[in-house]
């Protein structure tokens, strides 16, 4: 019952194998880089649920990403680490709650309005943190100690070790992926897909579409919070820029780059985006011009070119219509 064509699935399988062995062949530095990519992949997948499946384009998604990071920062005392087992669910729940509240206002709008109000609300959150010293202000906040994972006084795993953090993040990324894939086929996921294609008809058939969209918005926000928490764990530093519309638009780019609606594309897109960004920032000197310094110019042009010529992403280029809608019938037993 899989949507993705065989070739793509093989490629993804190979990619997973590569991820599993990577830390053993690469250095710590690259392991950390890939960990960051996996964290962004979780963010991209959460956005794919909202955008690719439900069809809601949000320019404010990063707000829920940043909020969870801030939650970890507030919960971690200056002098000692805090427990993973309770702070992670709390941060995720916090982001979900924020998404529920903001979603209540935002989901009642449609089309371009939705895009604009999500942007406005996210900037509101951004300015809330930027303007208030008590919340860290423009300097942001530090997380001095990574959370500890202990059971009955014994350390289960040590997140200070880059290797452990890598596999912890990989496990969560895979968990989110398989959860979202199941969600896609569930009645909830099917309803979201229907809403994306023709919301009016869904209502005419008896679906309370507001509730579905709000649920998708909330769930996506909570998952973005998971990514944000992990970002805080890895980098130890949270600032308002992680919540602004620039970050949200970058996340949208990741989803677009990979191909929307199947979650594998989101992972591919996040990796691609980060890789391109690193490549551009590391461009060498050409004569007297430092090409890498002007990475924004190349990044912007790259985005423009992708939109112009490849708006269905990498997976869309590989297969003309990867976007085949999934079947809900069990083909062995139709009426």
């Amino acid at each position: 019952m899989d949507v993705l064509p065989r070739g793509v699935r093989v490629a993804l399988g190979l990619g997973l194998a590569a991820l599993l062995v990577f830390p053993f062949v690469g250095s710590d530095f690259y392991a950390q880089m890939v960990t960051r990519m996996m964290i962004l992949a979780i963010l991209a997948m959460s956005l794919d649920l909202l955008q690719g499946v439900a069809g809601l384009v949000s320019l404010g998604h990063a707000a829920f990403f940043g909020l969870a990071g801030y939650a970890l920062a507030f919960l971690t005392p200056q002098g000692e680490p805090v427990g993973l087992w309770w702070t992670l669910p709390l941060a995720v729940l916090g982001s979900g709650l924020a998404a529920l509240v903001i979603g209540f206002f935002v989901v009642r709008t449609h089309g371009i309005y939705f895009i604009m109000v999500t942007m406005a609300f996210a900037q509101m959150v951004y300015f809330l943190f930027f303007d208030n010293k008590a919340l860290g202000g423009s300097d942001g906040l530090y997380i001095n100690f990574r959370p500890g994972a202990e059971i009955a006084g014994r350390t289960v795993f040590d997140l200070d070790s880059p290797l452990t953090l890598y596999y912890f993040t990989l496990a969560l990324m895979l968990l989110v992926y398989f959860f979202l894939r199941r969600l896609l086929w569930s009645p909830f996921g099917r309803a979201l897909a229907g809403i994306r294609v023709n919301e009016h008809r869904m209502r005419a058939m008896g679906f309370g579409t507001f509730g579905y969209k709000l649920s998708a918005f909330t769930l996506a926000g909570a998952l973005a919070g998971l990514a944000g928490y992990l970002w805080g764990v890895q980098s130890g530093y949270i600032n308002p820029e992680l919540m602004g519309f620039h970050m949200s638009a970058n996340a949208i780019m990741m989803v677009i780059l990979g191909g929307m609606g199947n979650f594998a594309g989101a992972i591919v897109g996040a990796f691609t985006f980060e890789t391109v960004l690193h490549l551009l920032k590391d461009l060498p000197q050409l004569g007297s011009v430092n090409l890498g310094k002007h990475w924004q110019l190349w990044m912007g042009s790259f985005i423009v070119l992708v939109v112009l010529f490849a708006s269905r992403g990498v997976l869309g280029l590989l297969q003309p219509s990867v976007r085949v809608e999934p079947a809900s019938e069990d083909r062995s037993q139709h009426g």
Partner: protein, 253 residues
């Protein structure tokens, strides 16, 4: 025994100073087809929208199965037992025929947002929904096309799918807005047969321009002009009514 399934009383809808629907009352019985005819701009589609919840009436009431559904949202009206098809084909073009109808079948399941299975178990697992879906497609004559993508099937088949989607929600009342729109003779014939099959189990309101089909199908006719009902009765009565002939039939035939 025929019962009244839908009863609309004194429905009026104003836009600014203009009454698009003006004091219209309609009763729908199970097992009978009630056709609404009239020239373009008579307010027929507006009336359909008022009954289905897509538009709020300025005054008047609608009862479905004894429940007052006046002012209800489209989703609530659907759940009260009204299924609607549209004049302009309103299907899910990228989905298969099966998936189009399946969504309708799925809508009748208990939504139960607290139940994790609704979020994790494949939608196709539900036997009840599959049966409903298969039944609707069979009734609409589309079983053999279940795997085709809706955007690729013929116009006539798309109109059949329009109705199948409404049928999948197992409604008591069917509101059909120009089901024969854009059809050639052969396709229209098939559609008329379909509508006659549906008549037995449902109360039906039919908005149509195709007069041959209307007089074949209708048990009762209402004629609207400029938002008002100018005549209402059996096909024979309507055909003989001089006002109707002057206003509408005379021009068309």
């Amino acid at each position: 025994m025929a019962e009244i399934v839908l009863s609309a009383r004194h429905l009026t809808r104003r836009f600014g100073g203009l009454a698009a629907v003006d004091d219209v009352s309609v009763d729908l019985w199970r097992g009978r087809i009630h056709a609404v005819i009239g020239p373009n701009g008579a307010g027929k589609s507006t009336l359909a929208n008022l009954l289905s919840g897509d538009l709020l009436p300025s005054s008047g009431s609608v009862l479905i199965g004894g429940q007052d559904t006046t002012g209800w949202s489209p989703e609530r009206v659907s759940r009260a037992g009204l299924g609607r098809s549209y004049q302009k084909t309103n299907i899910f073009l990228p989905f298969s025929v099966w998936d189009n109808a399946f969504l309708g079948a799925q809508s009748r399941e208990a939504q139960q947002p607290w139940n994790p299975l609704r979020w994790l178990q494949p939608a196709a697992r539900s036997q009840r929904a599959r049966e409903r879906c298969a039944g609707a497609l069979a009734l609409a004559g589309l079983s053999h096309r279940h795997g085709a993508i809706a955007g690729t099937i013929s116009h006539g088949e798309q109109r059949q799918l329009e109705i199948a989607m409404a049928l999948a929600t197992e409604p008591q009342v069917l509101l059909l807005d120009e089901p024969l729109a854009g059809m050639g003779a052969a396709e229209a014939h098939k559609m008329v047969e379909l509508l006659l099959r549906l008549k037995q189990e449902h109360a039906m309101l039919l908005v149509e321009h195709d007069m041959d089909a209307v007089f074949t199908l209708a048990d009762h006719l209402t004629v609207m002009v400029n938002g008002q009902v100018i005549a209402s009765g059996s096909p024979a009565d309507i055909r003989a009514d001089p006002m109707v002939q002057a206003a509408y039939l005379g021009e068309e035939h």
